[in-house]
Symmetry: C2
Subunit: 112 residues, 2 copies
Amino acid sequence: MNDHAEQSLFFKALSDPNRIMIVDMLSCGELCACTILEAFSLSQPTLSHHMKILCRSGLVIPRRDGKWTHYSLNREKFSELISFINYISTGAGKECIHFDTKCCDANVLSQK
Amino acid sequence: MNDHAEQSLFFKALSDPNRIMIVDMLSCGELCACTILEAFSLSQPTLSHHMKILCRSGLVIPRRDGKWTHYSLNREKFSELISFINYISTGAGKECIHFDTKCCDANVLSQK
DNA sequence: GTATAATATAGACAAGTGCGAATATACTCA
DNA sequence: TGAGTATATTCGCACTTGTCTATATTATAC
């Protein structure tokens, strides 16, 4: 996969302030859905929806326990995410092909 | 600001595969819009739209130079982003208040 | 089994997003 | 000034997203 579709799921998952807060809560340890729900003024189905998106991205892992569902962070995925951000935001280890500069850069140079 | 609205802009900006690719390209250095455009099969207005979202988040900085616009990464913001992800995904330095566990955790414990 | 509790799914709706075509703006050069 | 070039904005469209209400599923307890 080269179009970063998988990684974009990480970012999509964290692109909502409520979901950021949920991750923040989970960083202290595993929590069950009802505990998370209490901290927000969201309906239960809406929270369930948010949890599904977080789980789909792989950043959060669900654990069924009787009639309860407990959620926890997938630390590995967060490491992956940070590595990925480092990769795309620094030239480190890249070929850094000189993109064709015919349109403008060449002109800029020729002006000097 | 406590609702992470600002940080969610970082994630929104990177939640599109095309924008991830653009950041990847910019990691090798400043590029002008026309050079980026050549690398994608997008219309010029659509690219302009993506660049606006990237700039709005603060991750990318535009620089006008005559009729050209050059874009570069804002390394500081990427550091901020990584720090933020570390913050929300680890308990480090947090109070880690024990959330009210009345609904389920208490039951789980009482079952043991 | 039936009632209750925790969570998930379905459906609807407003708001937001990605996209291109058309147009506008801003700059350069003759 | 006027033509040409680089980029931005506007607008319309299909699709996605965040939210709710209503309902279904799954597990527990009597």
